[in-house]
Symmetry: C2
Subunit: 202 residues, 2 copies
């Protein structure tokens, strides 16, 4: 079965409108979480806070978990372009991201909430998302490290995958300590210590 051209155009317009509305909701939710955090957020309370009916929200997002994941994905996509600038040095790149997150503690909260949910059986979708994100991030950082090792720019006596996991872990853990104790923790300075693990070849 095919649709007539008129139906197609109408479908495209309606699809585009739906996409725009979905995007708008995501942006409101990013603002909401940035300002107020994500604690005990249900689809209903999120809808109330951003002035979207529960029914409308359910139209765009299947569940609370689905919305949280999409909000985080949208936030990450909007910052990843600038991240691509810090090419080459993975420690510097993570330090940059950590630095940028400083201004939006609510989004660090969103991230830790997703991570904590991911460890619980009751959130299979979040578990898939977070596991996949860690894998993709480890493999992208490891590839940069391996390339630098092959080019003779970095010492080659350690597994790139291990250092990649370590950089991500340190960055995640330090952001939590920093949120709880901003005076005591300088995320960028501490992360830069990891650079010592990979001395440039003489």
């Amino acid at each position: 079965m095919t649709t007539t051209p008129d139906h197609e155009a109408a479908g495209r317009r309606s699809h585009a409108k739906g996409e725009a509305r979905r995007r708008q909701i995501l942006e409101s939710a990013i603002e909401l979480f940035a300002e107020r955090g994500v604690d005990a957020a249900s689809l209903r309370t999120i809808g109330e806070a951003i002035g979207v009916s529960h029914t409308a929200l359910r139209h765009y997002f299947a569940s609370r978990d689905d919305l949280l994941i999409e909000v985080y994905r949208a936030h990450e996509a909007s910052t990843s372009e600038s991240l691509a600038d810090v090419d080459g040095d993975p420690v510097l790149a993570m330090a940059e991201t950590a630095e940028r997150n400083r201004s939006i503690p609510g989004l660090v909260q969103l991230y830790t909430t997703l991570t904590t949910d991911a460890l619980q059986e009751q959130h299979p979708q979040t578990q898939d998302f977070v596991r996949g994100r860690f894998r993709a991030l480890r493999s992208s950082i490891a590839a940069k490290i391996a390339a630098a090792q092959e080019a003779g720019e970095l010492a080659a006596d350690f597994p790139p995958e291990d250092v990649a996991a370590l950089i991500i872990a340190a960055s995640d853990g330090l952001q939590v300590q920093w949120l709880l104790d901003p005076e005591a923790i300088d995320v960028g300075r501490i992360l830069s210590l990891l650079g010592r693990l990979m001395p440039e070849r003489p």
Copy 2:
């Protein structure tokens, strides 16, 4: 006003009985969390799972947060004795703890739940507990590092507090990645990379 010796003895017995019951509840909760995790645990659902009435639970613990904190504290106290054995090398000590946690993913979940709650305004008691725990842990690890630096056993060109924060952050973050991807992450091996930050003095 003084109580009679008889009253005192009765009071002591009743206090001892109360302590024993509280201890029993904590142990049941540790088992519960170790087996099933802590997701969406309310005082009521915890009580139902360990067969303690809500009223009895409220008698010993003021709130869900209070119970979670006490469960974690009890678990940590029971493992800290063996931790004291790994004197001297803080990286080794964290690796040991991480290794021990492997057998009890539910307690890593409890830890990440406490940490996530601590970042939310709605959990002031948890925030105080987690902030205090991080401070105590950083300062105890930093003291060991500083002592080793003074004794000439470790390179002295980095701030002990920064390395302490880094070790804790890496250990926390790696345990999360490991829970999601046990095949890919070897917590002990990756943490041991941090030992390179502190080469022994020649």
